[in-house]
């Protein structure tokens, strides 16, 4: 099983990436390359949807964290959604869930993004 990567531009400064298949030593470089190409300096909010990601190894986690560092450095928001149980387990073992924004499902994420947007509008008005 390989890795399928789908990238969507949700808004001017927000992108979402859906991962399907396996993110391991073999496929992690492919994801890194895609992220290098697609995540420009204008991206402030990045969502990674793992609904169809069946397998994640430490090679994949490195790419994820490298990307999180990049987004954090520009005071952006980096979020994960729809972690499958076996993928969530990997994050739990290496004890990183506390430092990640993880949403159980799309509805939770949508509520959060809406609240974020309303906060920005309130601050602007």
């Amino acid at each position: 099983m390989g890795l399928e990567i789908e990238i969507n531009t949700d808004t001017r400064n927000r992108k979402s990436i859906s991962l399907s298949g396996t993110l391991d030593t073999d496929t992690a470089p492919e994801l890194q390359e895609k992220l290098d190409q697609e995540i420009g300096s204008d991206v402030q909010v990045l969502v990674i949807d793992m609904k169809n990601l069946a397998f994640l190894s430490s090679a994949g986690i490195r790419v994820i964290f490298k990307t999180k560092k990049l987004i954090d450095a520009r005071q952006g928001k980096f979020m994960l959604v729809n972690l499958q149980p076996q993928v969530r387990k990997v994050f739990e073992i290496i004890k990183v869930l506390d430092i990640m924004d993880v949403f159980n499902n799309q509805a939770e994420l949508d509520d959060y993004l809406a609240a974020m947007q309303n906060k920005v509008l309130d601050e602007d008005s």
Binding site: D24, T25, D26, F55, S57, S58, A59, I61, R62, F65, K66, K68, K69, Q86, V90, I93, I94, K95, V96
Partner: protein, 127 residues
Amino acid sequence: MSHNPGECKRLYKFLIDAIDHLMVSEEFIHDLKLVSEELLVNIINHGGEFNTDEIVEVTLTIDDPSVHITFIDSGRAFNPLDYDNTDTRKDFSEGGMGITLVKSLTDKQKYARIRDRNQFTITKNYI
């Protein structure tokens, strides 16, 4: 197996074929694949100046209720168990998580240096 990260797929197939008759859970298979990948990659990354034709020998034995997988390589002496820094690691983009995963997902781990070869065995109980 040759010293090449692309061999992971071949490793997965070997493992799945070997334990197919045990009727273990999907979670068990997943965990075995994950720890095996982490160990193979560790060997490749930490083995030193390897010739890319070097072989990593992988054996699997079943000893009810356990599966034992042994990785043997002729790289420089390297015991992965000495490198678990989960509690102190701050930057996960730098790696080093493999052995943490191996220790959490297996029941026993054993390292030995025998005749200039690293021998690392993991044991996972399926019952």
